[in-house]
């Protein structure tokens, strides 16, 4: 009887503990709901903020006296690039299995001996089909603000999909590529070492883009000149540079990549396409992407680095020589007539923009 009473008392104590603690919890929960904490806000507002640099380009370069910025070896040898991934990307860049008929690789149209581009006005793609635009150089493409003539993608990784999946160009699918590469033990092993996911579209894109980031051509003679070596270029070439600035070429071709950092309409002062005729869809340029009428005939301003090696010129590859393209630029873009002497000087200047690829002069 006594024991039973004690047990009842213990149960009552236990129950009241539960009630008190639950009540405490509920009341504090309620109190928290009505009052907010402002301390955190104050704290977060006092946090210092850094401004990270996202590319090799920087504002200090833009403030220099000269509109063109020298390209140093520092950019070419980004320490963050894994040499094994670079090697894999190099191999994939030359891999014809990335095309539908196993005959075309990236290097088919971005040739080492043609300035990282194609000597043809339009490239030969899948089963001899012609591309719609002239192949731009792969060299220094990592310095471009966007990729392709119409700037349709922002990164080198995104760029990889376009030619591979384009039925006129390499005409294949990721499924086919992944399955073909998986049949090669060497690829399987290498990918597994470098990427946790193994052979996947994302890892292929990354390897190729990583390789392309090494295709930077620093240490052109003009770079040496800009860095203070006044004898690096001849007086004629210096005069050519002066013309380059005077005629206003530099309005669009400036910065570290001597271009490649903005869009511009082809035919600012005069209608280029009226003169050329036969306007194709591809000639509409950026308008094909944005749909805005004001973007008609607007293209990415191409880089002029190694321009002496990347003939033919313009988006349609319609111009074969530098002299011609300089005249066209003068007429349609600058509203100026450039005399032949000046054209010669400008050509001489442009030739000083040919740099080194992986330490070798081009």
């Amino acid at each position: 009887m006594l024991k039973a009473r004690r047990r009842v008392r213990a149960a009552v104590v236990l129950f009241s503990c539960v009630v008190v603690l639950l009540g405490l919890g509920l009341s504090i929960t309620w109190a928290h709901r009505t009052t907010g904490s402002v301390r955190l806000q104050r704290f977060t507002q006092s946090l210092p903020v850094s401004r990270p640099a996202a590319s090799g380009l920087s504002a200090s370069d833009a403030m220099g006296r000269e509109p063109i910025v020298p390209l140093s070896a520092r950019l070419a040898l980004e320490p963050s690039l894994d040499p094994r991934k670079v090697a894999l990307g190099n191999r994939l860049f030359h891999e014809t299995q990335l095309s539908g008929n196993n005959q075309i690789s990236c290097a088919s149209c971005h040739k080492q001996d043609s300035g990282g581009a194609d000597e043809r006005p339009l490239s030969l793609g899948f089963e001899g089909q012609l591309s719609v635009l002239n192949a731009p150089t792969v060299w220094n493409s990592s310095l471009n603000f966007r990729q392709f003539w119409d700037g349709r993608v922002a990164t080198l990784e995104e760029q990889v999909d376009e030619p591979i999946l384009n039925p006129r160009e390499m005409n294949t699918s990721w499924e086919a590529i992944v399955s073909e590469l998986n049949q090669n033990d060497d690829y399987v092993r290498t990918f597994r070492q470098l990427y946790p996911t193994g052979i996947q579209p994302a890892s292929i894109r990354d390897a190729i883009a990583t390789y392309e980031r090494t295709l930077v051509t620093p240490n052109a003679r003009f770079d040496h000149y800009l860095r203070g070596d006044k004898t690096a270029i001849t007086d004629e070439e210096k005069a050519g540079y002066q013309r380059f600035k005077d005629y206003g070429c530099v309005a669009c071709h400036h910065g570290a990549n001597v271009g490649g950092n903005m869009f511009q309409r082809l035919g600012v002062m005069e209608d280029f396409f009226l003169a050329r005729g036969k306007v194709q869809t591809a000639d509409l340029g950026r308008m094909n992407i944005s749909g805005r009428p004001r973007d008609r005939y607007v293209f990415k301003v191409p880089s002029l680095r190694n321009v002496a090696l990347t003939a033919p010129y313009l988006h349609d590859g319609s111009v074969e020589t530098l002299e011609e393209v300089i005249s066209i630029m003068g007429q349609y873009q600058l509203g100026r007539e450039i005399p032949p002497d000046d054209v010669t000087l400008l050509v001489k200047f442009l030739q000083t923009l040919t740099g080194e690829l992986t330490g070798t002069s081009l």
Partner: protein
């Protein structure tokens, strides 16, 4: 009843506490999972990213202004800003990805920011393109105009054109400093007047005039456009959206923090409850364990006591029975001893007197013969009396009678001796005796039971005695054993047995005297062979046997005399009992 109720209530209350504890533990695990996820470093990183985006947004406008004002000579800074902004946004998106699926507001703000980024990118590209052209025209315009004016001034016929262009020059320079719409209309009027001039000038003028004309137009067209682009760019600043986004995130984070604080409180409460319940359980368990221990000990004690009591009771019963038996035997002994003593004296003088009477009768009869010899013809009275008493028969029968009486008294004497021998009350407890004698005495006492009955012929006793050394023993007790065993043997014969025989053999074997009493009776069933020495075990009908005969025998032989007793029996063939007593008891 009361016990089971209490027991049940204790078990059920403990069960309830265990169930509650299990539930609390589950709750605890859930709350633990809910309170650990918040990463304060990640939160600061996100806040920093917001601040970074705001800074980059400001830098974009700032750098665009610097570009417009020709502080910057290229667009690399603008490109770098956009890239920075984009990568910061991507990073922010990745860091916020765990919250985006649950927080609709954050998702909306992110989408708005991404849309604004695209909008701003487009505006920026427009600005860059337009600004490049405008800057080019502005840069070219003074030199081109000076060249043209110099050429025009050399030609007097073009003075009107020269004057107009000089005005345009001035107005444009003014316009570049101050984008006043009045100046625009002035310039437009001037240009219209130039157009209206008759093109009398030669083709030599055509190209430079056209160039200047087009660049002037470009400046007029692009100057306001670039300004507008700049304004739109500034208006399209993502700053407000970023701020709202950051506020939404901070609200979200504050909410999360509060939630987690609440969860933490609950965690504490649940932990406390668990502690209380475990304390209760521990307290309860300790009591129960102690109780169980005591119960166990008590149970063991009770069992022990019960066993002891049972043994004691059995012993008591046995000893009581033995006491009764002993009393009985002692009474019997005393009776027989008394009887023997009382009978002994009379029978002695009867026996002695009978012998004397026999002598006397012989003497009398010889006297009578002498009388007949000497007086052949007695008186008639005597002859009649002789005839009446049939003297010849008397003479013959008298001696026979006396002989018979002698025999009878001898037998009585023998019985009395046996009685005395059996009871031995007149002798000290331990005594050296001849066991053959004891056997004979016992047999004599049992003599009447060997006689034939209705169902059984007389029982033959075969004695195979060897000469035995006298051994020290309690003869009364030993004789009692013989009595028990022989009685059992006599009772072992089933009715209708044709040749009942009891064989008694005695002998010595090493240090023992061996007595074997065997019968050819029914034998002992195997299942009870092991029990025959147990107290109160009897195969006889109730009331006929005490069940103590063999028990007492066993105690006498084994316990009192350090001997051995064993039984071999084959059912249907007979039973043999072997008793061994040590030759030297001590």
């Amino acid at each position: 009843m009361k016990f089971t109720q209490q027991h049940f209530s204790r078990i059920s209350s403990r069960l309830i506490v265990i169930v509650i504890s299990g539930f609390l533990m589950l709750l605890l695990t859930f709350l633990f999972g809910q309170t650990k996820a918040l990463n304060i470093n990640q939160h600061y990183q996100i806040i920093e990213l917001f601040r970074g985006l705001e800074r980059t947004d400001l830098a974009i406008i700032n750098d665009a202004l610097k570009t417009q004002l020709s502080v910057f000579h290229n667009y690399d800074a603008l490109v770098a800003d956009r890239l920075t902004f984009h990568s910061q946004l991507i990073e922010l998106k990745q860091m916020l990805s765990p919250f985006l699926s649950t927080n609709r507001l954050l998702q909306q703000k992110l989408e708005a920011l991404e849309a604004q980024e695209l909008e701003m990118n487009a505006l920026m590209e427009d600005f860059k393109s337009e600004n490049a052209i405008l800057q080019n025209s502005i840069n070219y315009f003074p030199k081109g105009m000076e060249d043209l004016l110099a050429q025009l001034s050399a030609d007097a016929s073009q003075s009107q054109l020269e004057a107009l262009f000089e005005n345009v020059f001035t107005e444009i320079l003014r316009y570049n400093v101050d984008n006043n719409p009045d100046i625009t209309s002035n310039i437009e009027q001037l240009l219209a007047r130039i157009q209206a001039l008759p093109m009398s000038h030669s083709d030599v003028w055509q190209t430079p005039v056209d160039h200047i004309y087009r660049h002037t137009e470009t400046i007029l067209r692009l100057q306001p456009e670039v300004s507008q682009s700049m304004t739109r760019l500034a208006n399209a600043s993502t700053g407000d959206i970023i701020e709202q986004f950051a506020l939404a995130y901070e609200d979200h984070h504050r909410h999360l923090t509060q939630l987690k604080n609440r969860y933490r409180l609950w965690l504490y409460i649940i932990a406390m409850l668990l502690m209380v319940s475990s304390l209760y359980l521990a307290w309860n368990y300790r009591n129960a364990a102690a109780l169980r221990k005591v119960n166990l000990k008590l149970g063991r004690l009770v069992a022990e006591r019960t066993k002891e009591l049972k043994q004691a009771l059995e012993q008591l019963k046995t000893s009581q029975a033995q006491l009764i038996q002993a009393e009985k035997m002692s009474a019997l002994g005393q009776l027989s001893a008394g009887m023997a003593h009382e009978i002994n004296n009379p029978i002695n003088f009867i026996h002695g007197n009978v012998q004397a009477s026999e002598q006397y009768s012989q003497d009398c009869l010889e006297l009578l013969s002498l009388y007949e010899q000497h007086y052949p013809h007695p008186v008639e009275d005597i002859q009649d009396f002789i005839k009446t008493i049939d003297l010849d028969f008397l003479r013959e029968d008298w001696s026979k009678l006396l002989t018979s009486m002698t025999k009878g008294t001898s037998r009585v004497k023998q019985i009395v001796d046996s009685l005395r021998n059996f009871s031995r009350l007149d002798e000290s407890e331990y005594k050296s005796v001849d066991l053959n004698e004891g056997l004979d005495s016992t047999l004599l006492l049992l003599n009447h039971r060997l006689a034939p009955s209705a169902n059984l012929p007389s029982i033959e006793i075969v004695k195979a005695y060897s000469e035995l050394p006298a051994i020290l023993c309690n003869p009364g007790a030993i004789n009692q054993v013989f009595m028990n065993i022989l009685s059992n043997a006599i009772e072992a014969f089933a009715p209708g047995h044709t040749a009942p025989t009891i064989t008694i053999a005695t002998g010595t074997e090493a240090e023992h005297v061996v007595l074997t009493i065997s019968d050819n009776g029914e034998g002992i069933p195997e299942d009870i062979q092991a029990k025959i020495f147990d107290p109160f075990f009897t195969s006889k009908p109730v009331g006929q046997g005490t069940g103590l005969g063999l028990t007492v025998s066993y105690q006498t032989i084994v316990e009192a005399h350090n001997g051995l007793i064993d039984v071999t029996s084959a059912p249907g063939e007979g039973t043999e009992l072997r008793i061994r007593l040590p030759l030297n008891r001590l």
